[in-house]
């Protein structure tokens, strides 16, 4: 079997089929071409098709993540997790979704009706907007913005806006407390995220995601930028955990002390929106980390080692992207089911006394490394 794989890969290499890096083709560019050709049907088709595709993808992804989270959590805790619905409970998230959709949609009596109503939709909008810029594969991307990185950093703040609105609009002290914590947390940790993005921009000299990915053809940034990149990745990972409200930073939800925090007063469909948004946000953060540190959809390439590069090319770009992203997601789940929740003062201490100074030092280091071209394959 091993020799067979070897022969096949040798053949593929010799044909040189996979030698060059594919060009980015975004859906936005396809739409634009058809629009310029004044082909109205094709234009509409390529607008509607990605919409349906995105909706399906988001739903399926969220359900899969919910299932995986429950299963993985169970196995970390010596349990089995869902086992009844379908083979090893594989249909459990669908059953849950149907249950949630059938539930009564309650609005508390004294709630601010408008804010309470729109908060979950804003949460969903934030995630969908983020999804737009993520490059899954060279030809699976909605729009390749010139300021993709900045855009993603901006859009990731919308989710917390939704949490704030939900907490404020619910007329519930626990919700409000959760929302306030979320705001404090976001303001603190957004700083670290932005500082890390500055490091990435220093290295790549670009905010365009496709550009960032192409630059990692010689080696991924996490290896290329050695210590600076590793510190940057660590800060980014920790800060994303905080921004995603995941344990050990899940203070806005805090089951033990706040009920469920900001979504205490939500039920049915609109609760599931928060739920979905939370899981999709996790995917988004991991996808962004993959893109800027682990080469996005690029296979593992080392400049100069053509044999290795060709073997790595055997896996299609989408598989590489999903592999890396799911590894990071697993890491997040692993952390979630291992560590206890921090106190709010510990949370603030970690950010302002540890991550932020470290990030600032890292920027200086990055500037030195970049200006002297001390990174690999400069």
């Amino acid at each position: 079997m091993k020799s067979l794989i070897f022969i096949v890969s040798l053949l593929l290499i010799s044909t040189g089929l996979l030698a060059e890096i594919p060009q980015v083709v975004t859906i936005a560019s396809i739409v634009e071409t058809h629009y310029q050709n004044q082909d109205i049907f094709k234009t509409l088709f390529f607008i509607v098709l990605p919409m349906i595709g995105a909706l399906t993808f988001i739903t399926v992804l969220a359900l899969t993540l919910v299932y995986l989270e429950r299963k993985i959590a169970a196995h970390f805790q010596c349990r089995l997790g869902p086992m009844r619905v379908g083979f090893h409970g594989i249909l459990q998230p669908i059953a849950d979704a149907i249950k949630l959709l059938n539930k009564e949609d309650l609005i508390p009596k004294d709630a601010d009706k408008l804010l309470h109503f729109i908060a979950p939709f804003i949460a969903m909008v934030g995630t969908v907007l983020g999804m737009v810029a993520i490059p899954f594969a060279p030809n699976i991307q909605v729009i390749d913005l010139d300021i993709g990185l900045l855009y993603l950093a901006a859009v990731s703040g919308i989710g917390v806006f939704a949490v704030l609105l939900a907490g404020w609009g619910s007329h519930n002290k626990w919700s409000l407390l959760g929302a306030m914590r979320a705001a404090a947390q976001l303001i603190s940790y957004e700083l670290s995220i932005t500082i890390v993005l500055v490091v990435v921009v220093l290295f790549t000299g670009s905010l365009k995601l496709s550009e960032i990915i192409y630059q990692q053809d010689s080696l991924w940034w996490i290896f290329k930028g050695h210590i600076v990149s590793v510190i940057a990745f660590f800060i980014f990972f920790t800060a994303s955990l905080a921004e995603l409200n995941r344990t050990p930073f899940d203070l806005p939800e805090g089951e033990a002390e706040l009920g469920a925090g900001f979504h205490t007063e939500y039920s049915g469909m609109r609760f599931s929106f928060f739920f979905l948004a939370e899981f999709i946000n996790m995917f988004l953060a991991c996808a962004l980390m993959t893109t800027i540190f682990f080469g996005g959809w690029l296979p593992f390439h080392i400049q100069g080692l053509d044999a290795l590069n060709s073997v790595m090319d055997l896996l299609p770009p989408l598989a590489w992207f999903m592999l890396k992203t799911s590894t990071l997601i697993f890491l997040m789940m692993w952390i979630r089911w291992t560590f206890p929740r921090l106190r709010i003062d510990q949370l603030m201490k970690l950010e302002w006394k540890f991550l932020l100074p470290l990030g600032l030092i890292n920027i200086v280091l990055a500037a030195i490394v970049v200006s002297f071209k001390w990174y690999f394959f400069a």
């Binding site: 805790q77 010596c78 349990r79 089995l80 692993w334 291992t338 560590f339």
Partner: protein, 236 residues
């Protein structure tokens, strides 16, 4: 895996004439930010290692697929669900009717009726009533019994539609404990076991619990006294 606490300092302490070994909590050295950070990462890694250990070993899973494995279900040794009297091979229990368990039960879930036996001339238990409906399974009764007469039965499927059915009489015969019966000769033993035959019941027949007008086979209505003929079977 879990050896780190063994490395921590151990101290011998004396409380009066009691010798004890106290484990000192490891002191975290907070000299500077670097060693603190290193310690933090080390301890985080320890935690991650432990959870990964269990994640990678599906054999450590303790969940049982209950209704499917009903035949092969294995309950943990110390599982508490049904209180029962220990019986020896001859079917005799050890309970002397001393009522120590009754006085210790925090929920008054044990009611013991005992009389002085005519043949044995000793206090013997007539009915040992245990109310599962109010028991918190605190295990105190088992611990305090000086004659080691009680134990737990892991048989947990005790769902009923009326809580009166959870009130059960534990003893299968009314009479002296095994030790006393064991000392009797065969003839006396026979007459002893025959003497309280009519008290030989397993279903509770004592004071009633309100049932809001409903009836249930085998359970007497509120107001029916237990002296009435038929007791438990009055309103079948």
């Amino acid at each position: 895996m879990f050896d780190s606490w063994k490395n921590s300092k151990v101290k011998e302490v004396q409380y009066g004439n009691l010798q004890a070994t106290a484990v000192q909590a490891p002191v975290i050295e907070r000299n500077n930010v670097f060693s603190t950070t290193a310690f933090a990462f080390k301890s985080l890694w320890t935690g991650l290692k432990i959870t990964m250990y269990y994640f990678l070993r599906p054999k450590t899973i303790v969940t049982q697929q209950y209704p499917e494995n009903r035949e092969t279900l294995k309950m943990p040794e110390r599982y508490r669900h049904n209180l029962k009297l220990k019986y020896n091979e001859e079917g005799l229990h050890n309970c002397t009717g001393c009522k120590i368990c009754e006085t210790h039960c925090p929920n008054a879930s044990i009611i013991i009726e005992s009389t002085k036996g005519e043949i044995s001339k000793k206090i013997e238990v007539d009915s040992y009533v245990w109310r599962q409906d109010s028991c918190t399974f605190c295990n105190i009764c088992v611990l305090v019994c000086p004659f080691d007469a009680l134990e737990w039965n892991p048989d947990f499927e005790s769902t009923v539609y009326d809580r009166r059915l959870l009130v059960t009489q534990l003893n299968k015969y009314a009479g002296p404990p095994a030790k006393v019966i064991g000392k009797m000769d065969d003839e006396k033993k026979e007459s002893q076991l025959n003497a309280n035959k009519e008290k030989y019941r397993e279903k509770y027949i004592g004071p009633n619990i309100p049932m809001n007008g409903a009836t249930l086979a085998g359970v007497s209505k509120l107001g029916d006294s237990m002296d009435k003929k038929g007791g438990g079977e009055s309103n079948v």
